[in-house]
């Protein structure tokens, strides 16, 4: 990295926090990569339980995937509002993102309870174990993201809102988009390629 670029960003808190977030996201790639690889190893080991083709409902999952994709749109619009210091708009988009995220999660819960009823649980087979652990791990990340979105929206109401608010939303946004792109991979590799 050239000395010139370093001087430009030197000690800028916004830059420092973004570097940290990208470093963290690089690490998260390995986390999900391990889970996805475990799944790829075990996806045909279905034992006595159902296979992917038998149990997946592609139309349903496509809709929830689309919902999560759209939540990335609302997220980036929330971030854009902070640039214009339009806090009301920002809150609207943050809450919209959280609602879309919660809808996605509700869809996951519905889908999983259906699978359990049809005979696929986390202990049925390696396929079941790796599928549920991967998707639950992702779902937990979504839930944490929803929590952060709501807390950020709430904090903007209180007097403790700091002048670098745009940065907080940007960091939450980076995390949220990452969770979305992980799902892009999961949807394709687990669901679409599984059937």
């Amino acid at each position: 990295m050239s000395a010139a670029v370093h001087e430009e960003h030197a000690h800028d808190p916004a830059h420092i926090r973004k570097v940290a977030m990208w470093v963290f996201l690089g690490s998260e790639c390995l986390l999900f990569g391990t889970l996805i690889s475990t799944f790829l190893l075990y996806r045909t080991r279905t034992g006595d339980g159902p296979t992917a083709a038998e149990i997946f409902d592609i139309p349903f999952t496509s809709i929830s995937s689309f919902i999560l994709l759209m939540s990335s749109l609302t997220m980036v619009l929330a971030h854009h509002s902070t640039g214009r210091k339009d806090w009301r708009q920002m809150r609207v988009w943050l809450v919209a993102t959280a609602l879309l995220g919660m809808t996605f999660l509700a869809g996951q819960v519905f889908e999983f309870t259906g699978f359990v009823e049809e005979g696929l649980t986390v202990t049925t087979s390696p396929f079941g174990s790796s599928f549920f652990v991967l998707t639950s791990f992702h779902g937990t990340h979504v839930a944490v993201g929803v929590l952060m979105l709501l807390v950020t929206a709430l904090m903007s109401y209180t007097g403790r809102w700091r002048p670098d608010a745009g940065m907080d939303v940007e960091l939450v946004g980076l995390y949220w988009h990452f969770v979305d792109i992980v799902w892009i991979v999961i949807f394709t590799v687990v669901y679409l390629l599984g059937v």
Partner: protein
């Protein structure tokens, strides 16, 4: 809010130097614990059919000795020196995220206490530090391996957070003029280590989670009966485990790269090569993991590939060795204790590296695997390497941290006792291994030809123990009546020697402007035609730098609170299902800590 002493001050500190001290003291304490575990092992093996330890106790000893030394001693010792010196070496006032830094320490401490707790509640982990499945996933009613899996998860979290912190610090907080290539080699190695941890820990995090789920939820990740594959665990573990050994040794290599030039009064020979070989070791460290699995039935293609990559990784290490030798060659050597330990590092690490190269030959490794030959190899690189390197750093930087110099004569006694003891202990293990003595077996029969060298090794181990006692005596004596060090007792080359011993809380009165590598040296000396150092006049050394008002991060109790919550959570997770309420309680505490933290400004100047 409170004075500079007292428990509360230490519990809430966010100062990287204090956090470094906390890591250092904790690492030393666990060094004694891990050492005692080793001595018990050696007592048991001193004679055939030993009766000091039962088989069960022996399993716990070798598991915990390794786990303690790797995760609770060597890594935190490196963290101590990195925490203390990385910001100073790059001309910064602190790390990028001081409270996150504190959190890493407290999570580490609670993780170590969590592992130690197991001894008192039915037995410590006993499945080896590498926890091979299905041994580690069987017998869920005995919770020892739950302590192991959860303990490592907690410790891994501490390290990942540190890595994010250090990488961000190096990328954003270097002093003006300090380009990456002007950064001291120790700072570079700390950066490579952070990247290694950043990318290897997530892999084992998932593996450990899978072990925990196999044990507690009945999943089928590593259970052959359930359709899973235990070999997957080996891959996941060693994908982390191999980069981990470079995590253990690179800081020591960084220290050697600082000590040798100082005590040879010569710049580091081939500095860019030393840096690039460190980076190469980092990258290549991810490409050799299956050399731990040569007897796992991977097949000839995989085995050949990993044999080759393992042979290749010797190259960048060799580059470092030759550059270190080039540094010493023709230098004006001062054989002070830090220098002795660094020279000892080179000698002992080369021996360990050579036995490592013999491991790379897959067919030869088939005989060596699971014998004491391997134990010899890794103790030469980890004890002769990492530990000697760390002690070099300890003696080198002790005066900067405490303001007093450790006694030279006692230090030399420590060095020679440790050097002799180390060789007495581990050299015979090459022979024992090639003669077939297996690892992790609590006793051996008479008449196998193993008696003599085991006895020698035990004598050696107690020699090491004596040397450690000498070190503690030196530390105690220095605290009572040690020689005052001054700013620059070694006529050093890097920025830490330009400030007081110990440094002020804000590190630098004025942030330095850096013009070259070894900037401090060039502020003290210029060179004449034949390359001799000519001292500059004191006035010529002053550099105005950038005057500014200094804002230091305020203390905070949220890091220790959040870490305590995590401790409570993992205890609850061991004892499911009734532990769920405990997990909930711990989660509440952690969330309270994190939320309070997010609302608290970093610097609270208007508070008393």
């Amino acid at each position: 809010m409170t004075g500079n002493r007292g428990l509360w001050h230490w519990l809430t500190t966010t100062d990287h130097k204090k956090i470094g001290k906390l890591y250092g003291v904790t690492a030393l304490a666990f060094f004694v614990v891990g050492g005692v575990e080793a001595l018990l092992i050696r007592l048991q093996l001193a004679t055939p059919n030993g009766e000091i330890l039962s088989a069960d106790a022996y399993n716990q000893m070798f598991t915990m000795h390794a786990t303690t030394m790797v995760f609770l001693v060597v890594m935190p010792a490196a963290a101590a020196l990195t925490n203390y010196f990385l910001p100073i070496l790059i001309g910064a006032r602190d790390v990028a995220f001081p409270r996150l830094n504190a959190l890493s320490y407290w999570i580490f401490l609670f993780g170590g206490l969590f592992l130690t707790l197991s001894f008192f509640v039915g037995g410590a982990p006993d499945g080896g530090w590498f926890g091979y499945a299905p041994l580690s996933t069987q017998v869920p009613e005995v919770v020892r391996m739950d302590y192991w899996a959860l303990g490592l998860l907690v410790l891994g979290l501490a390290s990942v957070l540190s890595s994010v912190n250090f990488i961000t610090t190096v990328l954003t907080l270097r002093a003006p003029g300090m380009t990456l290539m002007r950064m001291p080699v120790f700072a570079w190695m700390a950066t490579v280590v952070s990247f290694l941890l950043l990318f290897s820990l997530p892999i084992i995090t998932i593996g450990l989670l899978q072990v925990y789920l196999d044990r507690n939820l009945g999943t089928a990740f590593f259970s052959a009966a359930g359709g899973g594959d235990p070999i997957l665990w080996q891959h996941l573990f060693w994908l982390f485990g191999h980069p981990e050994v470079y995590v253990l040794v690179l800081p020591a290599m960084g220290i050697v790269s600082e000590v040798l030039p100082t005590f040879s009064r010569k710049p580091l020979f081939g500095r860019p090569f030393v840096i690039f070989s460190g980076i190469a070791i980092g990258f290549m460290g991810f490409g050799v993991w299956a050399h731990h699995m040569f007897t796992a039935g991977l097949g000839p293609v995989a085995e050949a590939a990993f044999a080759l990559t393992t042979m290749f990784i010797a190259v960048p290490t060799g580059v470092k060795i030759f550059n270190w030798l080039g540094t010493i060659w023709g230098g004006s050597l001062r054989l002070k204790t830090p220098m002795l330990f660094s020279l000892g590092f080179i000698f002992l690490f080369v021996i360990g590296g050579l036995s490592g190269v013999t491991h790379s030959i897959a067919p030869a490794d088939s005989q060596q695997h699971d014998t004491y030959y391997v134990v010899a190899h890794f103790h030469y690189v980890l004890f002769g390497g990492a530990v000697f390197g760390l002690f070099s750093g300890v003696y080198y930087w002790w005066p900067k941290v405490t303001g007093k110099l450790l006694n030279e004569r006692i230090g030399k006694l420590h060095f020679w006792l440790m050097f002799i003891g180390m060789n007495l202990t581990f050299a015979p293990m090459h022979i024992l291994g090639l003669n077939g003595m297996p690892r992790r077996t609590y006793r051996y029969a008479e008449g196998l030809g193993l008696d003599l060298w085991n006895l020698v090794a035990t004598v050696g181990s107690f020699t090491i123990a004596a040397s450690v006692a000498v070190f503690f005596w030196n530390a105690y004596r220095t605290a009572k009546r040690g020689e005052v060090a001054g700013n620059d007792p070694w006529d050093g080359r890097t920025l830490e020697w330009s400030i007081s011993s110990p440094p002020p809380e804000h590190n630098f009165d004025v942030v330095p402007v850096v013009h070259s590598e070894d900037d401090f040296w060039h502020r003290k000396y210029t060179e004449d035609a034949s390359g001799n150092a000519i001292p500059l006049a004191a006035s010529a050394q002053a550099d105005p730098g950038h005057p500014e008002t200094i804002h230091l991060p305020s203390p905070s109790y949220y890091p220790v609170l959040s870490a305590a919550g995590i401790f409570v959570m993992v205890v609850g997770l061991v004892y499911l299902p009734w532990g769920l309420s405990v997990v909930g309680g711990g989660a509440v505490v952690t969330l309270w800590g994190l939320f309070g933290w997010s609302m608290e400004p970093l610097t609270r100047e208007d508070h008393g």
